[in-house]
């Protein structure tokens, strides 16, 4: 699986993400299986742990639980894993407030929340 992380010097670990096959929702591989909460994702801190997570993910593909799993580099943010790459941050924390119904409140600031 190709790693979507970019800044390896900031990397503190790797999580596995995928989309749930039935509904497409973003999920993370945790101790209790796939979860929609990134806080519950299992963080692999070395290559061996990462390979073990990837093997579990591949099994979930076979059992049709998820689609397209891949590893994501994360850093620790007050006990919560946060992706390094911009795209992955938006995949997890987006869409931004006010981007859905057509009406947004607030000022003009355009900031990445993490």
């Amino acid at each position: 699986m190709k790693d979507s992380g970019m800044e390896t010097d900031r990397r503190t670990g790797t999580i596995i993400t995928a989309n749930r096959l039935r509904d497409g929702r973003v999920v993370f591989l945790g101790a209790g299986g796939w979860t929609t909460e990134i806080a519950d994702a299992t963080v692999a801190s070395d290559e061996q742990e990462r390979r073990a997570l990837e093997a579990l993910a591949r099994q979930s593909v076979v059992t049709c639980e998820v689609v397209a799993p891949y590893p994501v580099a994360v850093v620790d943010d007050r006990g919560r894993p946060v992706p390094v790459a911009l795209r992955e941050r938006w995949r997890i924390f987006g869409p931004g407030p006010g981007t859905e119904t057509g009406y947004a409140g607030g000022g003009e600031a355009v900031r990445v929340p993490v």
Partner: protein, 554 residues
């Protein structure tokens, strides 16, 4: 509007049944993702950043009130209560579950809609002038020809697996409102000296990472020969288009690499060799069958002498007068008008519409526009048949739903792709930048002072937001883990199509709105007079004043 015949209905039903079976087999593990992916794409289903996305075709941008109401129902029942109108006159739902999509397709089929060929390397939805059939400057209604092309290209066995996606646009007006020169094939309807219908054929336009304007390879092809000629173009493309490199696979690259003359020579040779008289006869017969579906509605005589619109416009009703002046256009009947519904309220998401708004517009269309709505490539809607006598009522009704922003063709009428808030390919966000610019320039008097201006933005190099053909284009990229927004100036769609030029290094998300402000201030400060438009000024003075304003050291 066109209505399905038994064969159309059966074709769509069969496709849904087949897709339902494919989804079930996928869920049971009998199809792997690699096998399933081409089938879901051919039915308009993407796996996007957060969820599946369903893109529903709106053939040549024409919708009935019944169809729009059904889209509202789907938005509410299967999505989050809204839909997003795209720059190709389609609508996207951002959150459907895969397990629900066959049911959604069934419900679409009940109102003669589908999602077939809204993705994949095939001929996509045919796009068209949103004012087709009603524009005062129209040569001939292009929609019967669009419908012919839709039927011809649907499930076309030879052109289902092209090197890359393939987009066709048709314009029937004296002005090009279909942006034909940024399409793989652009067709401009023309009459010859004897009044026969034919088309100027342009090939090899497209935006993305290699923006190129289409070249005319035939000044005129008679209408009955259109399918034979397009077949020849697609055969040359199918034979020689690059399949080894996704980024060089569009027909524009083939035309560029062969040269226009050589490409034309090959198409003409293929056309001569493969021309089929029976196809010409079939075209004539089918156009004759289709044309009555697009006959003008039964307009009631709404004499301007009793026009309440004139009364309201004359009264001290500035808001209505502004909307009348900016958001309506000349209809071929003087007692009617074309109404443009802005989906760009201040701070809004370009192209988004809630289910409630869809229902309101559907009802309004039934009451005041013969049940018809159009979708524009600039992510707005059109009521094509509004009696001038009803304009004040239409305006009041739209205003109650936040749909009467009088900003058509002005700065806040921003075109924007979904960007990194939704799109798996995006490298930066588009929506919040468009919202911030919309809020900064929300003052209508200021927008009118600036005058006609097209601002378009894309969240990646694929350019779904058409930033290359904007007067002010913004391209969102990722630079070292941060969003960076590049400004292009001088692009234009339509008759004076031009590709914009990148002005210089990009701006951070927090800086881009101020940068746009400086571009606007440069123009306002230095233009000869208010009649000199932004584009005229740019063409007169060049890029340097803008570069100075954006990049010169303070």
């Amino acid at each position: 509007m066109y209505r399905y015949d038994d064969r159309d209905a059966e074709f769509v039903r069969e496709r849904i049944a087949r897709f339902r079976d494919q989804v079930q087999r996928r869920l049971r593990g009998e199809l792997g993702e690699e096998e399933f992916r081409p089938w879901r794409l051919m039915n308009g289903v993407y796996l996007q950043l957060h969820a599946y996305m369903l893109r529903v075709a709106i053939p040549y941008g024409t919708l009935s009130a019944v169809q729009l109401r059904r889209l509202a129902d789907i938005a509410e029942r299967y999505d989050r209560g809204y839909g997003h109108f795209t720059t190709r006159q389609n609508i996207q739902f951002n959150w459907p579950r895969l397990v629900d999509i066959p049911d959604i397709l069934e419900q679409l089929a009940e109102v003669e809609m589908h999602a077939i060929q809204t993705s994949g390397n095939c001929i996509r939805n045919i796009t068209c002038d949103p004012w087709a059939g009603v524009a005062a400057d129209e040569i001939e209604d292009p929609r019967p020809w669009c419908e012919l092309l839709r039927q011809w290209s649907s499930d076309h066995q030879e052109f289902t697996f092209l090197p890359r996606k393939f987009k066709v646009a048709v314009s029937g007006g004296r002005r090009d409102r279909a942006a034909v020169r940024i399409h793989d094939i652009g067709l401009r309807l023309r009459h010859d000296d004897e009044g026969r219908t034919g088309f100027e054929v342009m090939v090899g336009g497209g935006l993305g990472r290699t923006p190129i304007l289409a070249k005319t390879i035939r000044e005129w092809i008679p209408g009955e020969e259109l399918l034979s000629y397009l077949t020849a173009i697609l055969r040359v493309y199918n034979r020689y288009g690059r399949r080894d490199n996704k980024y060089k696979a569009r027909i524009k690259i083939l035309v560029h690499e062969l040269g226009t003359e050589e490409f034309r020579r090959q198409v003409e040779a293929e056309y001569t060799a493969g021309r089929r008289p029976e196809l010409a006869r079939l075209t004539v017969a089918e156009i004759a069958r289709i044309r009555p579906f697009f006959a003008p509605p039964d307009y009631a005589d709404r004499s301007p002498g009793t026009d309440p619109c004139a009364k309201h416009a004359a009264a001290d009703d500035a808001a209505f007068r502004r909307w009348l002046s900016v958001n309506t256009a000349a209809h071929r009947r003087p007692d009617h008008a074309i109404v443009e519904i802005s989906l760009k309220p201040p701070g809004g998401v370009p192209g988004n519409m809630t289910a409630a708004q869809m229902r309101l517009v559907a009802t309004l269309a039934e009451r005041c526009s013969h049940g018809e709505i159009r979708v524009t490539a600039e992510q707005n809607l059109v009521l094509p048949h509004v009696a001038r006598a009803d304009l004040h009522t239409v305006w009041e009704t739209l205003d109650t739903a936040g749909l009467a922003t009088p900003n058509l063709g002005h700065l806040s009428d921003i075109v924007a792709c979904p960007g990194l808030d939704f799109c798996a390919l995006a490298t930066a966000r588009s929506i919040p930048v468009a919202q911030a610019i919309g809020r900064r320039f929300a003052d209508l008097d200021r927008q009118y002072e600036i005058g006609p201006l097209k601002l378009k933005m894309s969240g990646c190099i694929n350019a779904c937001g058409h930033h290359h053909v904007a007067h002010i284009g913004i391209l969102g990229l990722e630079k070292r883990g941060r969003e960076s927004y590049q400004i292009t100036l001088g692009g234009s769609g339509g008759d004076e199509a031009a590709i914009g030029r990148v002005l210089g290094p990009g701006f951070a998300a927090e800086e881009i709105v101020d940068a746009v402000e400086r571009v606007i201030t440069t123009y306002l400060t230095n233009r000869r007079d208010p009649r000199e438009t932004f584009l005229d000024y740019l063409r007169r003075v060049g890029f340097q004043p803008f570069k100075d304003a954006l990049y010169a050291p303070v």
